[in-house]
Structures are given as structure tokens and as C-alpha cells.
């Protein structure tokens, strides 16, 4: 049986006046029901563009998929017509957007916005869909749901708006839920509530989740598998344990190392990754991370290596990841490693 969702060597480029922006330049992963994939990387690494490509929400032009495919239960989403895509979007594949302040329509009542996908995809009547919306609001933990469904977005707090967004995404019981930085705009205590809610819903509905975030703590909390992205490319992929305890790629090491330690009483200097992320128009030759990498060698300028399976299920795009001596020596700093 084909996987639930499969992204296969996706290249999404933007054709701008300044040149071709290679926002996503070769990303592959697949997703099964009940699985949570964490996608991490810095701003501009292509995380959100990958998500929007799956939803087909990238305007074309300027965007264009120049290579690769996205398949849902074996059917290519890219080959579908607009009508078929609409049947998937918001129905089988739903998305929670980053900013709960701007992604809700300010002039419609919350209840109506939650009912909208039900009216479109399930042909429910006004009345039935409204009742279902109230039920959904209850499920996402909004008290006095029947009254609050009549509120407008500005009457909700940030946490409540994010809950309403989740209710919209859940309305049709999607198979795949894409959460793009769902908690970045929220305070930590509210973030904890929302993450708990998402996990609870997943346990109930058996949907697959793609959790896009730059917060490694959030990934550690929810993800089964982790995809690390850098400059539009996947640099490491593996189970959460693999990526956190036995990371293979120098960029992943850099990310883990630059976090303030939460478990030591001595304060040392932080170890940032030096330099700046590269421009996506003008990527360095060879490995995109080379100019910032502490371990780069001549061979790194020559060619860019794709993801290679180093141990079963654990992939890295670094030339030297296969050399276990190198990996051991270089990431000896990681006391998280066992």
C-alpha cells in the first residue's frame, strides 16, 4: 500500500526579478497514519514552503515545482486539477497556520468560520454545520462553546484563536494535519496547552501530523521522526532519538550546541554556528552549509551530496557522516548522547 503522504524529491523554485530562489531544493519524506514528523530549520530553510506546496497554496507564478512529486495515498497532488485539489484541501489535508491573529477572518463569527469547511466538503446544512462547529469548539477546550461560537475573532485571546484555528483544521477529520509553527506566537503556558491538545486529538483521530517549528524543544516533545532542513534541502532525517542523541550532520550538531543548556549549573559560553545563512538565490557551490561548517574540507566544495542512509532509517547529507570515527570525535561534546 502506498504511504499516506509522500513528498518525493520536491523542488519548488520561485522565479523573481532578482533570480531564481530555490526555496525548496530536493526534499523527500513519507508519512503514515498516527505518525508525527517534526520539521526543523532556521527561517528561510524552506519549511513553510514545503508545507504550502503540499497544500498547493503557493501562487504559480512566481512559484513553480520544477522537479519532484507529492502523492496522497499514491495519487499525485501536482497532477490533479483544481477541483480535485479542493476536495483534498481542508478536507483530507488540513493546515494550522502560524499566526492566529491574522489567519482568521475578522468579519465573520468564529462559529461560521469553523462551519465553513463542513458546508463545503460535507454539504451540511447551515444549522447542522453550526451545531457541529459548537461541538468542535467544545472539543478544543473552549468553555461555553455555544456562546463563544457567536464571538468574532477580536473577542478571543491568542490561545483561544489558536484553538479556533485547530477546530477549523479538524472540522472534516483530516488524515494529514500540517501545523506550521502553531505555538510560536503564544506564551509558554498556552503553548503547553496547545501541544497537549494536538497530541490528544491525534490519539483520538489517528491523523498524521507534520509539525513545523524552529523550537527543538517542541520537536522533542511531539515528534516521532525529525527532518532537519537547511537552505531548502533536507540535511538529516531520522527518528527523534536518532536525531537528538546520535546526530550525524554538522548543522544538526550546531543547532543542538547553540541552545542554552538547561541542565547544568556552570555557565559556559554558548557555541553558535558562525556566519549567516546563505542567500537562496546564490547558494554556495557544493554543500550549502560548507561556509559555516567547522569540519569542511576541499571535497565539500565539489558536489552536493543528497541524503544517504547511514544506519537503518537514519539519513544524513554530509559526506563524512558515514565515517563513524569522524562523527564520534566531532560530536563528543554532546553529553545528551548515550
Amino acid at each position: 500500500m502506498p504511504p499516506l503522504l509522500e513528498v518525493d524529491d520536491l523542488h519548488m523554485h520561485f522565479f523573481t526579478r532578482d533570480g531564481i530562489v530555490k526555496a525548496v531544493d530536493g526534499v523527500s519524506f513519507s508519512l503514515e497514519p498516527r505518525e508525527t514528523l517534526g520539521v526543523v530549520g532556521e527561517s528561510g530553510s524552506g519549511k513553510s514552503v514545503t508545507a504550502l506546496s503540499i497544500m498547493r497554496l503557493i501562487p504559480e507564478p512566481p512559484g513553480k515545482v520544477v522537479k519532484g512529486d507529492i502523492r496522497f495515498r499514491g495519487d499525485s497532488i501536482l497532477a490533479m486539477g483544481e477541483k480535485e485539489q479542493r476536495k483534498l484541501r481542508g478536507n483530507r489535508i488540513a493546515m494550522i497556520f502560524q499566526d492566529p491573529m491574522t489567519s482568521l477572518n475578522p468579519v465573520y463569527r468564529i462559529g461560521k468560520q469553523i462551519a465553513e469547511p463542513l458546508r463545503i466538503h460535507k454539504n451540511m446544512s447551515r444549522k447542522d454545520s453550526w451545531d457541529a462547529a459548537v461541538e468542535l469548539l467544545k472539543q478544543v477546550g473552549i468553555p461555553q462553546a455555544a456562546d463563544r461560537a457567536r464571538s468574532y475573532p477580536h473577542e478571543f485571546s491568542g490561545g483561544m484563536r489558536q484553538r479556533a484555528m485547530i477546530a477549523i483544521a479538524l472540522a472534516c477529520g483530516p488524515d494529514v494535519l500540517i501545523a506550521d509553527e502553531p505555538t510560536t506566537a503564544l506564551d509558554v503556558t498556552i503553548q503547553a496547552q496547545i501541544l497537549e491538545l494536538i497530541q490528544e486529538i491525534q490519539a483520538r483521530t489517528e491523523s498524521a501530523i507534520i509539525m513545523i517549528t524552529h523550537d527543538l524543544g517542541v520537536v522533542a516533545d511531539v515528534a516521532d521522526h525529525v527532518l532537519v532542513m537547511y537552505a531548502g534541502r533536507a540535511v538529516e532525517f531520522g527518528t527523534a532519538d536518532d536525531v537528538f542523541y546520535r546526530p550525524l550532520h554538522p548543522y544538526t550538531w550546531g543547532l543542538l550546541e547553540s541552545l542554552p543548556r538547561h541542565d547544568v549549573d556552570e555557565k559556559g559560553q554558548l557555541c553558535p554556528i558562525k556566519g549567516q545563512p546563505p542567500s537562496l538565490i546564490n547558494l554556495p557551490q557544493g554543500c550549502a552549509f560548507r561556509p559555516r561548517c567547522a569540519y569542511s574540507q576541499g571535497v565539500c566544495t565539489m558536489e552536493r551530496s543528497g541524503l544517504v542512509e547511514i544506519t537503518p532509517g537514519h539519513f544524513s547529507a554530509c559526506q563524512f557522516s558515514g565515517d563513524s570515527g569522524f562523527v564520534e570525535k566531532a560530536c563528543g561534546f554532546l553529553s545528551r548522547e548515550r
Binding site: 503556558t189 522533542a220 541552545l259
Partner: protein, 334 residues
Amino acid sequence: MSTLLKVESLKKYFHVGQGLVTARFSKSVRAVDDISFSVEEGETLGLVGESGCGKSTTGRCINRLLEPTAGSIHFGEIDVRKLRAGKLKHYRRDVQFIFQDPYASLNPRMTFGEIVAEPLVIHRFGTKKDREERAKEMLKTVGLSPEHIHRYPHEFSGGQRQRVGIARALMLRPKMIICDEPVSALDVSIQAQIINLLEDLQEQFRLTYVFIAHDLAVVRHICDRVAVMYLGKIVELGGWKEVYNAPCHPYTQSLLSAVPVPDPEKQHERARIILRGDVPSPIDPPSGCRFHTRCPIAQFPICSDVEPPLDIVAGGQRAACHFAKPFPIPEDKM
């Protein structure tokens, strides 16, 4: 070490509602409501809390970007609230500000050189040539190249812009810098660069920092002492080790337990306290202890009737809770 900044019973209310006629009946947002703390010379005091707790307002009151409603602020021997015009300007030489958003806080029509030299222009230091020299030097100090003085902000990334914001704050050789969320708009790898820079500069220029942030891990790393704020009040204040390893106030405890740690196993094993509901409105804050509406250990009627004072508790820090008790988070659970 001597006390550099002493804040006592500081209050800042914002009036909501408009017009002369309605002013008498208007309500006020109690953004900061009677807080006291002091900052020693050379230390870093962290102000943490969720959005709307009053941490930024406190920072702005300290250098009089906002006029406090009540209370006193002393900077060394100076009574900050009494300063007028020229003297206030002079005071602000010593107390500089680094802003959160490196995109909004730099004028897009000025070059880096002009931005960094502007404090010198305002305070009438040196000739144009001297100022340019000092600007170049300062850009070098913060890790940029002196040639960058002719470049504009849009040519640079967030991290580089924040370096310019820091250079500008340092130009007048201040004694204290108020850093308002200086790294929260930056990516983690860049965030670490800026934190290291701030630490190096603190040593080099003998600076005192008031560090405002919502990211508890960053505050833990950079601060000597930490004040945790909730709805305009300080609920816990103490050395970072005490506050992080043995928090006494239930709000601090839940705040710390809510931060996900980048370690799957520990994250799954941790005991978590998840608070219910949202922060109440500061227009009409809850009576008694302001946290009682969300508190997991609140007892009635005492918590809803009597406001707990910020008293010294077991660990040596201060906490404002009737039932303050250490809640050590064991090392392996963190």
C-alpha cells in the same frame, strides 16, 4: 558591589477610554502595579513573564520612556523621577536601550554609520570626523566590518542589524543597558552569537544589564538574578540557581515545567503542570493573589482575599505566595 538601580513601589497605569468627559469614569490597565527591586553594579537582572505581565513597561519606566504613575526610581544618587530636560538627557547617556525588533528599530533611510553615530550627534560629542572614527571602531567591537558604515539596514540580516542596535546603545559608554527581548526575533544559531556578544561586552565595558525576555532558557543562561512577573506583579525574585532549581511560587513552577526541553526522553518523563485558561485582564485583575484563578494549589478564601507579600522563603529567594514552598525539579527531570 554597590546598588546601581533601586526601584520602589513602581506603578504604571494606562488609562483606557477616551475624551475629557469620560476620563473620570475611565478604567485603567494596571500594567505595573507596585513592584520593587534593585540591580547591583555589574550584574544581569532578568525580567521574565508572559506577554502583558508588565516587563517591557517596567523597562521603559526605568529610563523614562514612559512616565511612571507612582513610586520611586533611583539610579546611584540620582532620583530619576525628578529629572527634567537636560538632566534627563544626561541620565539617558548612562542608561541605554536595546530594542526587540531589529527590523523596526533602525531607520531604513540612515546608513549604519549614521545610526551608530547619532547618539554622539544628539549629545554633541566630537566633530563629524571623530564620530565616524568612533562609529567604525564600535562596529568592529560588535563584530561587523568598519566598511559597513556606508551600508543600509535592508542589506543585512536580523542578527547583523541587532549588532548595530547594540553598537548604537554602546556609543555613549553607558553604565546600564536595558535589553528588551534582544534575541527573540532571531534564529537559534544567531541568537547564540548575540548572547555571546552581550556577555563579552558586559565584561569589556563593565556593563549592568536589565534583561527582559520571555524565553526562560535564555534568561537562565545570561542572568545572575531573575524576577518573575505575573499581571504587573513580581511573584518571585532571586538568584538564578534558586529560581530555576527550586522555584517556590506555583506560577514559576508551572512556567518552568511548560518549557519544552530539547531532549525527547527527558521531555516525555517530566512532570508537567499545565495551567488552565488564560491570563486575566489587567484592567480588572483578580482580588487577593492575582494568580489564584489559575493556581493549582490555591486555597480559599485566603488566596482570593489577601494579597501575599513578596517574602523571603526557604531557598533564599523571595516569593509572593501564601503557600510558597520549594518545588525542586530534580536534575534528571529537567
